[in-house]
């Protein structure tokens, strides 16, 4: 796989440098410059929200640093968790004196590092944790706490970020983030792999006429492989799976995110969206603030994910609140 890059060793740092040059609202922090922060800093007295994760998923996670979203983000190497130092630094940089919510995807490395960072800062900064666990393909409903976090985490960023911005305290922001995660489900599929910079081979192999349902964003195996099918059939299956886990008593308003894993173009996302829209309507659901585009990728992997965020009036209100992150602005 061809990449427009320089040496693999500089990949992540050059990307981050480019990111903050292109988006002056962001700046780099931390001893190794592996923390992305808001240039304006965190308002005193506001609850901070920190996220973090491996590189290779732009605009996740760093692109959602902004007012009304997350405050800082620690960045690891490609597909690796952020290291302890950057987690410590990111928590400190998110601190406005009212405590910091650690809000990130449920991956082993990320958890260990954020946990250790929190322990280091005990007594200094109050922290709470909410893990993104939206990938329904990664564990059964009974084990939903073990699910991986994928694209749907941006709903938690948006909703918890708005709650923090309006001045809620750490317990309330944490509670809201937990509700947002609990309301969000994602299912993804992959058509072709990506390659970690410097790696000798792509992350996985898949036949030229096959796709894999439920594959993870690092190429972790999914539920099943199949020959290519018409998009509408694929969407039908995805929406059915997502709706099977519709939270009990949900009132009928959802936001939907149709997300490219990288190489899949907007044209195809819109074809998916078109049918998803119909299926949701058929199911009696009204769509609020749909998102269709590149929101959480795996570099040049081809494929797409669909996330649903089952809204109540409070979540819907927070989703609609203003935010100014570079990759998700709401006015």
């Amino acid at each position: 796989m061809k990449k427009l890059m320089n040496a693999a060793s500089g990949y992540v740092d050059e990307v981050l440098e480019g990111l903050v040059l292109a988006h002056p609202r962001l700046k780099l922090g931390g001893s190794a410059k592996r923390v992305v922060c808001r240039s304006e800093g965190v308002r005193k007295g506001k609850v901070g929200i920190v996220s973090g994760g491996g590189s290779g998923h732009l605009p996740l996670f760093t692109g959602y640093v902004g007012r009304g979203m997350i405050d800082t983000c620690s960045i690891g190497n490609v597909f690796e968790g952020p290291n302890i130092d950057s987690c410590i630094e990111a928590i400190k940089l998110a601190d406005g004196g009212a405590g910091v919510l650690r809000l990130y995807g449920n991956y082993g490395g990320d958890r260990m590092n954020f946990d250790m960072a929190g322990e280091f800062l005990e007594g200094e900064i109050e922290t709470t944790t909410v893990l993104g666990t939206d990938d329904i393909a990664s564990a059964s409903p009974e084990e939903s706490a073990k699910r991986r976090g994928v694209a749907g985490i941006i709903y938690a960023y948006k909703i918890a970020g708005a709650r923090a911005e309006e001045g809620a305290d750490l317990a309330a922001v944490t509670q809201t983030a937990r509700q947002a995660v609990a309301a969000t489900r994602t299912i993804g599929l992959a058509l072709s792999p990506c390659q970690v910079p410097g790696a000798a081979k792509p992350t996985f192999e898949i036949a030229a006429d096959e796709f894999e349902m439920g594959m993870g964003i690092h190429g972790e195996p999914g539920l099943w492989r199949s020959k290519m099918k018409p998009a509408d059939e694929i969407v039908e299956d995805m929406i059915t799976r997502l709706l099977t886990e519709r939270p009990a008593g949900h009132g009928g308003r959802v936001s939907i995110l149709v997300n490219s894993l990288g190489a899949t173009p907007l044209e195809e996302l819109l074809i998916l969206y078109r049918h998803a829209f119909r299926k949701l309507k058929e199911a009696g659901l009204a769509i609020v603030q749909p998102l269709v585009g590149h929101y959480a990728t795996s570099m040049e992997m081809a494929g797409a994910s669909i996330s649903l965020c089952f809204l109540d009036s409070e979540l819907e209100r927070l989703l609609a609140a203003p935010s100014d992150s570079p990759f998700w602005e709401v006015k």
Binding site: E80, D85, G108, M112, S138, V196, A199, F204, E220
Partner: protein
């Protein structure tokens, strides 16, 4: 036998680094089967960082271990890398202020590291991870004094464990979802540990 000193540690770093030339690809391939295929590249980077880290001037054995722990922690944020850092940090604390440790203490030091890794990672012995091979080494080396015997027993126990777990299902992390598929496949973290134990043992 002089026991475990900073020099022992420096020598070990050289040995494990040398073994990575073939091991990197083997571990990536093992992790590719059900994981994200990066175990080898991550381990190579961590061990490479050890190689660049000068521990010869460390105050004592404990701080040499801790310096390596920090090097590991700064080189990666992956599960295995962070667990590795946790283990080194724990052993470093236990050997703080000392010039050497006896080979007879090794089992207990590794037990402490294992406990810390369980605490940190939330997995248990039996889940088919690096922990199982470490646990086997702890048990096989308990009560032994001679480095050469420890090396031989550690290697034997590690490999026996690798073989014993091969056909068991994995119970944690990404591979958990594929419990059935994971049968017949080595856990990459365990495989890496076993190979490094082999590399170290073969020099005794």
């Amino acid at each position: 036998m002089a026991g475990i000193s900073i020099a022992t540690l420096e020598n070990a770093v050289k040995i494990v680094n040398a073994s990575m030339t073939t091991l990197e690809a083997e571990l990536n391939a093992a992790d590719s089967k059900l994981g994200d295929g990066d175990t080898g590249v991550m381990l190579a980077r961590v061990l490479g960082k050890f190689g660049e880290t000068d521990i010869s001037g460390s105050d004592d054995l404990g701080s040499a271990f801790q310096t390596l722990a920090r090097a590991a922690a700064s080189a990666t944020g992956s599960s295995l890398g962070t667990l590795f850092a946790t283990a080194l940090l724990t052993i470093g604390k236990a050997t703080k202020g000392r010039e050497t440790a006896e080979w007879s203490e090794l089992s207990a030091l590794l037990q402490a590291a294992l406990d810390a890794m369980i605490q940190r990672g939330g997995a248990s012995v039996g889940d088919k991870t690096v922990l199982d091979a470490l646990d086997a080494v702890v048990k096989a080396t308990a009560g032994l004094n001679a480095a050469a015997l420890i090396a031989a027993e550690a290697s034997k126990a590690a490999n026996t464990t690798l073989d014993a777990f091969r056909d068991k299902p994995c119970k944690i992390g990404r591979a958990r979802m594929f419990a059935e598929k994971s049968m017949g496949i080595d856990d990459p973290g365990m495989l890496g540990f076993v190979r490094l134990v082999d590399a170290l043992a073969s020099k005794h």
